[in-house]
């Protein structure tokens, strides 16, 4: 049963959690899993692609290969300079269940299980091989929660049938990741320094790092002072409270309380580790490179300061607050989330990330993206609207031509993410060489909602687990096999994944 496995695994991993971030998980890689990928990012975009049409026009997505030459076709064109970094996985299927449905596809996408009735692979990796990272899981969205989106719009499943919502506000995401753990934590941005080590298990500690909260009683500013000891005490006590409750309940609400307990432990580990170590500075996180395309729509752009993990910076201010859901701000929000994800991973903050762009059946008005090829201030063209371009690929139909532009735009955002990873040196190569990045959507053709011939592109070498620069024709193979392959590359011993899995893809 899953839950007992879960506890067992945590016991095993718990012993390793004192190791420096990143190393612990690597050591757990089984001999039979490739296990050399440092990180994985799932990059989702909504409403599919111009695949095989209702009237039988061929898919505009399927790339082909002749000898060493990859022909991308017009939808994947923005990946032109990156084709050698990608494996193009033609023909994968998500199975027949809920075929014809956007939510049905979103439920299967990362779970590999019909109806979303299983944990998603990102969550599984987060709590297993990603367990020793300060943040086991990063789920960043761009307008993914718009209009109080129902849960079937989200693709990350911590438990069978249950989704969580992504963080849609890049300012929140950035602050959470880089402000340290707990209520305030060490703040590398301004202080530069880190508070002295604290032992959170010592209730009577009143060391130098403990500025106290009550002592600020008369201050006019309601900003709490750093109280890492107080954070540690709160977490310890909360864990004790939870264990008592869990014991008293027998099996009642077990899943809920297990997830809760994992979450408390994660923050507790983070707090302890951050207190014990200097800010994570991978040897080669180096100076930030000016990334291509960073000026698009960024009126507040400043020259990118030399960024490192002690002074993390996006170099610009993304939209926040009410502006988060204004369609014209979407490119800026997504850009910020991509940059935050890359920065977080460059600084060893996490190994598992999901970036969710908008939501299926999206109302996102993509014709408001200034500077893009679909920009048209006189006409609102929404994602889902364009995806229902009709029964055939008709170049005189604006729905179709705009849909093509929209898909190309999503691919260009994926390309930006890959470029950002490739621009940073890591080890003997680049971050991208050590990463796996999956481009995915919940349906194939946006008009027919097919769940076959899915638009999947896997980028990066995964530390050597994957040899990119190839087109594979997988002819109906279930996508659970791709998820299992990714999991294996991350060091999890997962021979198959989800429904109808048949084994690991040969990508090495």
């Amino acid at each position: 049963m899953k839950l007992s496995r879960r506890r067992l695994l945590q016991g095993v991993l718990g012993a390793a959690s004192a190791l420096p971030f990143g190393l612990a998980a690597r050591r757990l890689a089984r001999a039979d899993a490739c296990g050399r990928a440092s990180r994985v990012i799932f990059f989702y975009f909504p409403d599919g692609i111009a695949g095989r049409s209702q009237n039988g026009d061929p898919s505009l997505w399927s790339p082909s290969q002749s000898g060493g030459t990859i022909n991308l076709g017009e939808l994947l064109m923005p990946l032109g300079a990156l084709a050698s970094e990608c494996v193009f996985l033609n023909g994968m299927s998500m199975g027949s269940t809920d075929e014809g449905s956007h939510p049905g596809g979103a439920k299967k996408l990362l779970t590999g299980v019909d109806g979303g009735n299983g944990e998603s692979v990102d969550q599984y990796l987060a709590r297993t091989v990603g367990h020793a990272s300060p943040f086991r899981h990063l789920y960043l969205g761009a307008m993914a929660t718009q209009n109080n989106a129902s849960g079937d719009k989200f693709i990350s499943y911590p438990s069978a049938g249950v989704t969580i919502a992504p963080e849609d506000d890049p300012v929140n995401a950035f602050r959470r990741i880089f402000s340290g753990a707990g209520s305030v934590g060490p703040s590398p941005t301004v202080d530069g320094g880190v508070t002295s080590p604290v032992d959170a298990s010592t209730p009577t500690d009143s060391g130098a790092s403990d500025a106290g909260v009550g002592s600020d009683a008369g201050a006019t500013t309601p900003v709490p002072a750093t109280d890492n000891v107080g954070d540690g005490l709160a977490l310890d006590t909360s864990i004790t409270d939870l264990m008592e409750l869990r014991a008293a309940l027998g099996g009642v609400e077990r899943t809920k309380l297990d997830v809760h307990l994992d979450a408390l432990h994660e923050v507790q580990d983070r707090l302890r580790n951050l207190a014990m170590t200097t800010p994570v500075t991978p040897t080669d996180a180096g100076s930030m490179v000016m990334l291509p395309g960073t000026d698009a729509g960024m009126s507040m752009m400043t020259a990118a300061p030399p960024a490192n993990c002690a002074m993390p910076s996006l170099g610009f201010d993304p939209p926040t607050g009410a502006g988060l859901f204004a369609p014209e701000n979407f490119p800026g929000v997504l850009r910020a989330q991509i940059d935050t994800m890359v920065l977080a991973m460059a600084c060893g903050m996490s190994r598992v990330g999901v970036i969710q762009s908008s939501q299926h059946t999206s109302e996102l008005i993509m014709s408001r993206f200034r500077g893009s090829e679909m920009y048209d201030p006189m006409f609102d063209m929404r994602s889902h609207q364009a995806s229902h371009y009709g029964a055939r690929q008709d170049r005189t139909n604006r729905l179709f031509t705009d849909y093509v532009k929209q898909i190309r735009w999503w691919v260009s955002q994926f390309a930006y993410l890959l470029e950002a990873l490739r621009a940073r040196p890591e080890g003997d190569g680049t971050m991208l060489d050590h990463s796996l990045v999956l481009l995915c959507s919940e349906v194939s053709d946006g008009n027919t909602h097919s769940h076959h011939d899915m638009p999947f592109v896997l980028a990066g070498r995964g530390g050597g687990c994957v040899s990119p620069g190839r087109v594979l024709n997988l002819d109906g193979r279930r996508h659970g096999d791709l998820l299992a392959t990714i999991a294996q590359a991350m060091g999890a011993n997962v021979p198959t994944w989800g429904d109808a899995g048949s084994g690991i893809l040969s990508l090495g």
Partner: protein, 742 residues
């Protein structure tokens, strides 16, 4: 009643309905054991894939009635395996057909359908929603809510003239200043301070009454607007200045101005994660899918710390500790026996008293210890979850404790933690009887807070909360301002609460009322006779604007696209939110949208689209209702013409009470459609269901439909008085009775 056999056949085929069985997809037996294993839950898959045709209790509809099926399990399994779901039998293979067949035979009996008994609810923990968390900490820590306009009396309140400016940033700057009309636009006069814990630049500065424009100046050179500002005006350089109005002297006019970042509760909780609402569940409080992730823990920690700091001057008084004393033991004792009971909504256990007491006594001083203990309480599962676990009864059931009853009552009617009187009722046995529960329920309902909470229900039930931010095309709708959006939300809140509390109290009036509530902004926008004064007033609507909740500005706007109204969204809203009718997923052979003539009008285009039999089977239920809203555009303007064509707002409701019922109502105006809904059993039953969900925090399963039916009967017996519906949900047996989930 014209339904040629051929059409019905097509309809059933395309809907995925067929005679004889039900279906659901199953995981393949080859699925990896253990990891992410799909536990096949026949109830869940029946609800998802079969119920829309066969009925949630197998009572039938477009598909065959399954109750007391004469077929054997093997026969049912064979039908399912071969034909179900219609058009996609691949979706149900392996264990799926026999498991569903067993489920159908076991559960769908006429005895079960009759609902002779009301089943207990499942024992649950209900995580506080963001809304409940905020209200609760406000009450516990005595942090007042910002009133509209946050206007204090005559300059006496120094907190009023003091304004906080805050600029959150992820970039690195050396300086950030506030420049505005209050300081002569000096880029250096008002420097802000970097506050690392908040990850923002802040400045608290006194500002006299007035309206001001301002910007932030980054590194002395970049002038940017305040992303949190809600109002702005042109800056004369082609850009915008942020603006705000400060008003501390007595005034009763003007739009409210909530100072940016002024409310400590909003500040502390702004980054709490958004709830994930299950599909088809309108509310933010579904207990079964509310998980505490590490992001929650992170934010609960931050919030607790910030809130305790904000309440620091009051903390000793709140906890019952001596104002200046240094006796930590005495303070600890007071805390765990007094204030702790309020935080946990029950007396602390002995081990909790020991733990929390030690937090106070183990600290450097009383203030530090108290702060730590309180913020630790705010992270405890005892605080974060509303317990509805109950205690075991001799008969094998479970019954909520009096404290759990008090908590359920308070959050149901007020959306916040129990007050002192409720906790007293819990402790003295009042809540052990249903008479005591009813007395408290009626007391809570008589309080103004019950109106606010019903307003929350109204916005979530109608799905309109996001009208404040849903995108609209400003070139097409220049008068659809932020003020109009805000007034529409207030209209929706006031309309529902006034029908229930002030008007006839009658359910039907939610559809047939000829009045609404408007302020000057909204009256002008709707073209109603001018409303004078500042507040909202009840106004009589012209006939064309009548329709109760159907013609609320927020509803008309929410169910539309950025540039045009949507008969599909509006029709789906009526079917799903008001009639609780769910549609099966489209079968795989339905295909996509056929090519349409781009030159046709909206209604003509939809007519083409619904002429396709594969689409028409569902869309005849949706579009025929949605066309009734055609006199309203995407932002609730009335119109007679669209693109030179006269508006046709006639429509038809097929199968109003139940899919497959074979009824048809034609209507010519929206008020007629609304009047039909007002008399509909399906609409009334759905309203009960929606309120039941809101009160209970879960989506009822087939078994729990009997609990809903019980409440519906009580409601009907009380003459469809909505106040009695609200009482009935706490009188129904499953309010206090619990069972362990199977």
């Amino acid at each position: 009643m014209r339904r040629p056999a051929l059409t019905l056949c097509l309809a059933l085929a395309a809907l995925g309905c067929d005679d004889g069985g039900a279906s659901t997809p199953a995981p393949s037996p080859t699925a990896d054991a253990g990891i992410a294993s799909s536990t096949f839950d026949p109830a869940q898959r029946y609800a998802a894939m079969c119920a829309s045709c066969h009925g949630e209790a197998g009572e039938g509809g477009l598909g065959t009635r399954l109750v007391d099926s004469p077929r054997s399990v093997a026969e049912l399994a064979q039908i399912i395996g071969e034909r179900m779901p219609q058009g996609n039998p691949d979706a149900c293979r392996g264990d799926c057909p026999p498991s569903l067949a067993r489920y159908i035979k076991t559960n769908f009996t006429s005895a079960a359908l009759a609902c002779a008994t009301v089943p207990a609810s499942v024992r649950r923990l209900r995580l506080l929603t963001r809304r409940e968390y905020r209200a609760t900490v406000r009450d516990l820590l005595a942090i007042p809510a910002p009133t509209a306009g946050s206007v204090g009396p005559a300059g006496a309140d120094p907190a009023c003239v003091r304004r906080r400016f805050a600029y959150a940033t992820t970039a690195t700057f050396h300086t950030v200043n506030v420049a505005g009309s209050f300081n002569g636009w000096s880029p250096t006069a008002w420097p802000m301070t970097w506050v690392p814990s908040a990850h923002e630049w802040q400045l608290d500065h006194d500002v006299p009454d007035g309206t001001y424009g301002y910007k932030f100046v980054l590194d002395g050179t970049q002038w940017v607007t305040d992303p949190r500002a809600t109002t702005s005006m042109p800056d004369g350089f082609g850009g915008q200045n942020s603006t705000f109005t400060q008003r501390c002297a007595p005034a009763d006019a003007g739009a409210p101005s909530t100072p940016s970042g002024a409310d400590p509760v909003e500040l502390a909780t702004a980054a709490l994660p958004v709830e994930s609402r299950p599909a088809g569940y309108a509310f933010d409080n579904d207990a079964d899918t509310a998980l505490v992730t590490s992001v929650h823990v992170n934010e609960f920690l931050r919030a607790g710390s910030a809130l305790v700091t904000a309440a620091a001057p009051r903390l000793r008084a709140l906890a019952g500790c001596d104002a200046t004393g240094t006796d930590a033991s005495a303070c600890a004792n007071a805390l765990v026996r007094g204030f702790g009971t309020r935080v946990f909504r029950r007396p602390l256990t002995a081990s909790e008293m020991q733990r929390y007491g030690a937090l106070v006594t183990g600290a450097r001083d009383v203030d530090q210890g108290l702060a730590r203990a309180v913020r630790t309480m705010l992270l405890s599962p005892a605080f974060l979850y509303r317990s509805e676990l109950g205690v075991a009864q001799p008969d094998g059931t479970w019954r909520l404790t009096p404290y759990e009853v008090a908590t359920a009552l308070s959050y149901t009617y007020w959306g916040t933690t129990p007050d002192a009187a409720l906790l007293t009722s819990a402790s003295n046995g009042t809540l052990d009887t249903s008479a005591g529960i009813e007395r408290e329920a009626r007391r809570l309902l008589a309080d103004p807070r019950a109106r606010d909470q019903l307003g929350v229900f109204a916005l979530q039930w109608l799905g309109v909360e996001t009208v404040a931010t849903t995108p609209r095309n400003a070139m097409l709708f220049p008068d659809f301002t932020d003020a109009v959006r805000a007034s529409m939300l207030e209209e929706a809140r006031r309309f529902v609460t006034s029908v229930v509390f002030d008007g006839s109290h009658h359910f039907a009036d939610l559809f047939t009322a000829t009045t609404t509530w408007a302020d000057a902004t909204l009256a002008t926008y709707y073209g109603l006779p001018a409303v004078t004064g500042t507040g909202f007033q009840q106004v009589t609507l012209p006939a064309a604007r009548q329709g109760g909740v159907l013609s609320l500005g927020a509803v008309l706007t929410r169910y539309a696209h950025s540039d045009q109204g949507s008969p599909i969204l509006r029709g789906s809203f009526v079917r799903q939110s008001l009639l609780c009718q769910q549609f099966p997923p489209p079968p795989p052979n339905a295909g996509g949208v056929p090519d349409v003539d781009p030159n046709a009008t909206t209604r003509e285009r939809f007519r083409q689209h619904t002429a396709n039999p594969a689409c028409a089977t569902c869309h005849r239920y949706i579009d025929g209702v949605g066309f009734g809203f055609e006199r309203f555009d995407a932002v609730a303007h009335l119109r007679d013409m669209e693109n030179g064509h006269a508006i046709d707002a006639t429509g038809t409701i097929y199968d109003l009470e139940r899919f497959g019922a074979g009824t048809q109502y034609d209507f010519t105006t929206l008020p007629q459609l609304a009047g039909t809904l007002a008399q509909s059993d399906a609409a009334r039953g759905c309203f009960v269901r929606q309120y039941y969900r809101f009160a209970r925090g879960f989506r009822e399963t087939a078994e729990q439909r009997c609990a809903v039916l019980d409440v519906t009967r009580r409601f009907h017996a009380a003459g469809d008085d909505v106040r009695e519906l609200m009482v009935a949900v706490t009188l129904a047996p499953d309010f206090v009775l619990r069972r362990t989930a199977p």
